[in-house]
């Protein structure tokens, strides 16, 4: 009967290979047999190849000076030319917009949306986390429902809402701010500013989705802060406001930062709202431009410029993510609501 224990050793090569020790335990005492080590290395390298394939492909194209499309597979750069990058930085699309303008627009949008949503959300998150009051459940569900609605689902009313805020020059030195004052009847003035067609307005539209997420994400974190500190503060005579500002808020700073960066990363690639709302090329964003560079309407865009542009768009987010990897992953799985 004891022979059963020995049975794994008699299994064939494949079975033994795939059933190796998964525990991570007996590190120092027992060394991995060489053939097994080599097998694992081979497997790991295959996965590396899978991960690196599109990356190398796009990097190689971006470093090429040839604007024709690749006729054969090339995964390692034969030349290192920055022509494509130079061209992208100079004039990314047919529109007369510089790269810096696009970058500024994207940055302002995602930075503004990330920051505004945590600043507005943090007190509400605290209230949900610490107080028990009538209607609490109902209000929490109210904040949750918008999370289920994709951004495009609210686009039409937001368009109409923001479109109703206009600054019009009625002529003859008369100005009108539309929802409050209007031009005289029959006069169609020249619209100087339309909230819907501005970065500011698009930012407001994007906050409509970012804010409920921030409330839930921050509440999930505040729930994990032990209450003992607050009780100690109470004994020392601090009132609720002081407890929030002096004790809870400083403790929540790391999660505020994570929520901010989640907002920043998420909205860095926001496409729907800007694409629907903005008409002036001067306020276009990086992701809108990227869209212009693919698909059937972009046959004239050289692939080396496209590749350089794609790399540049991905770069800031990738850097933030790599630096804050641990915090972001735990911040995402910690909040009681994901998505």
């Amino acid at each position: 009967m004891t022979t059963h224990v020995e049975s794994p050793k008699r299994k064939n090569f494949l079975v033994r290979f795939f059933t190796m020790d998964t525990s991570g335990s007996k590190g120092i005492g027992r060394k991995l047999p060489l053939w097994r080590q080599l097998g694992i290395q081979l497997l790991c390298l295959i996965i590396v190849a899978e991960v690196m394939f599109p990356l190398m492909y796009v990097i190689t194209m971006s470093l090429s000076s040839k604007s024709e499309r690749p006729s054969a597979l090339q995964l390692f750069p034969k030349e290192i030319s920055l022509v494509a990058y130079k061209q992208v930085l100079d004039r990314p699309t047919a529109n007369p917009v510089t790269f810096l303008t696009l970058l500024r627009n994207s940055f302002l949008l995602s930075f503004g949306v990330g920051l505004a949503s945590i600043l507005i959300a943090v007190t509400a998150a605290y209230s949900f986390s610490r107080f028990n009051f009538p209607m609490r459940q109902v209000l929490m569900i109210l904040v949750f429902v918008p999370l289920l609605m994709p951004a495009v689902g609210l686009a039409t009313p937001l368009f109409l809402l923001l479109n109703s805020v206009k600054f019009t020059d009625c002529g003859g030195g008369v100005m009108a701010l539309t929802p409050f004052t209007a031009c005289a009847a029959g006069v169609t003035g020249k619209i100087l500013f339309n909230l819907r067609d501005s970065l500011f307005g698009v930012g407001i539209a994007m906050i409509s989705g970012a804010l409920p997420f921030a409330v839930w994400n921050l509440k999930g974190y505040l729930d994990t802060i032990p209450r003992e500190l607050e009780e100690a503060g109470k004994i020392d005579g601090a009132d609720s406001n002081q407890i929030f500002w002096k004790i809870v808020l400083p403790l929540a700073v790391p999660q505020l930062a994570v929520t901010f960066f989640l907002g920043f990363i998420g909205h860095w690639q926001e496409f729907v709202m800007p694409w629907l709302f903005l008409t002036n090329p001067g306020s276009y964003t990086l992701s809108m431009t990227l869209y212009n560079m693919v698909g059937q309407y972009a046959t004239s865009i050289p692939w080396n410029t496209f590749s350089a542009f794609a790399i540049i768009v991905a770069f800031p987010v990738a850097v933030i993510y790599i630096i804050l990897q641990k915090q972001i992953v735990s911040g995402l799985t910690l909040g009681s609501v994901k998505g």
Binding site: P8, T19, T22, S23, G24, S25, K26, G27, L32, Q37, Q41, C44, E50, V51, F53, P54, Y57, R69, L73, I120, T123, A124, S127, F133, V145, L148, M149, P150, V152, G153, L154, A155, T156, P157, L158, L160, L161, N163, I207, S208, L211, P212, I265, F271, V272, S287, L290, Y291, V294, G295, W303, F306, V313, A314, V317, A318, V329, T333, K338, G339
Partner: protein
């Protein structure tokens, strides 16, 4: 004196009772204007034939006609003036797309995390650093790059296949129309909604994008498992397979189920990725709910129908949430037990 104290007490009570609402006020005022008001507005115009002509005046537009639930009926019965659209086909495809994605990402993530967790492997840190790269790149960029990879004429995928076929003696260039070929390669799979080649292309691209996140979550969970459990199992003579099924898997389950649900909801509404790769084509066969509602707003300009469609998405999402919430609650009690 007594009256004074009573008044003070009363003030305190008001302050204490009102404080939660004061803290809620900023968020609720902002959301009231830009989240709840649009939500209600969508609900209202979902019963109208809201179109471009009504954009200027909105609800007070004289041309706006109220058609009660006609939009909803049209969506469910295919009465919308849209080609190649059938609601239940799109819904089936949407669920299939999200489920199949999670079904490959999660096992792949667990296996690779377990592989990297074997003690004594060389270059472990190097592999971990490389494997995280797909997570950090915005899906939008990933989709555009893969779109080029699957290009019929110049794409890398066909070029790789050309290299492979050359090994077998055929010198012809490969011209697979990955994103545009309509005939489903496996017709019997999902008969309700035939899967075109573009679906498989997107699965490949989204696999690249999806498994590394699962590795991150699984690695975190693996590292929190106490090593004594394995030592005890070793002493009892449990094989490595038995250890995997009886120790590793049950103990990382509480972390993997929320991650799988997160992956599911993410894939279910993966607008940027789908839209940038196929725009729902060919012939709407890879359309998901969100890309279709976008098309209704952006290109077809049927705002009333789009509003009704948004409400349907909301209900579908709510049902998914209620089901997944039950599953996560079940795991929560599992960890406590």
């Amino acid at each position: 004196m007594d009256i004074g104290i009573a008044i003070n007490k009363g003030k305190n009570a008001i302050r204490r009772g009102g404080l939660p609402y004061i803290y809620l006020a900023p968020a609720f005022i902002v959301m009231g204007v830009i989240t709840f008001y649009p939500l209600v507005y969508q609900f209202i115009i979902s019963f109208s034939d809201f179109q471009t002509k009504d954009l200027l005046l909105g609800l007070s537009s004289p041309k706006l006609s109220w058609i009660s639930i006609q939009n909803y009926v049209d969506i469910f019965t295919g009465g919308l003036p849209v080609q190649n659209f059938e609601f239940f086909r799109v819904l089936t495809y949407n669920f299939w797309w999200a489920i199949t994605n999670v079904a490959v990402h999660v096992p792949a993530g667990i296996l690779i995390a377990v592989l990297l967790n074997i003690p004594g492997i060389w270059f472990k840190r190097f592999y971990r650093a490389i494997y995280v790269l797909p997570v950090v790149i915005p899906p939008l960029v990933v989709a555009t790059v893969w779109r080029n990879i699957f290009d019929e004429q110049y794409g890398a995928m066909n070029q790789i296949l050309a290299v492979v076929t050359q090994l077998f003696g055929s010198g012809d260039p490969v011209r697979i129309r990955w994103l545009f070929e309509y005939t489903p390669p496996i017709p019997w799979l999902l008969p309700n909604s035939p899967l075109p080649l573009a679906y498989y292309a997107m699965m490949i691209a989204n696999f690249w994008l999806g498994w590394p996140f699962m590795v991150l979550v699984a690695t975190g969970a693996l590292q929190s498992i106490s090593k004594e459990l394995y030592e005890a199992a070793d002493m009892d003579g449990a094989s490595n397979v038995q250890q995997f099924w009886n120790i590793t898997l049950p103990l990382i389950r509480p972390a993997m189920i929320p991650a799988a649900i997160y992956g599911f909801t993410l894939s279910f509404n993966l607008f940027n990725f789908v839209y940038f790769m196929t725009q729902g084509g060919p012939a709407r066969s890879t359309e998901i709910l969100v890309t279709f509602v976008y098309d209704l707003v952006r290109n077809l300009r049927l705002y009333g129908a789009a509003a009704a469609f948004s409400m349907i998405i909301l209900v579908v999402a709510l049902i998914i949430f209620l089901i997944t919430n039950r599953i996560t609650n079940a795991t929560a009690s599992y960890t406590e037990a």
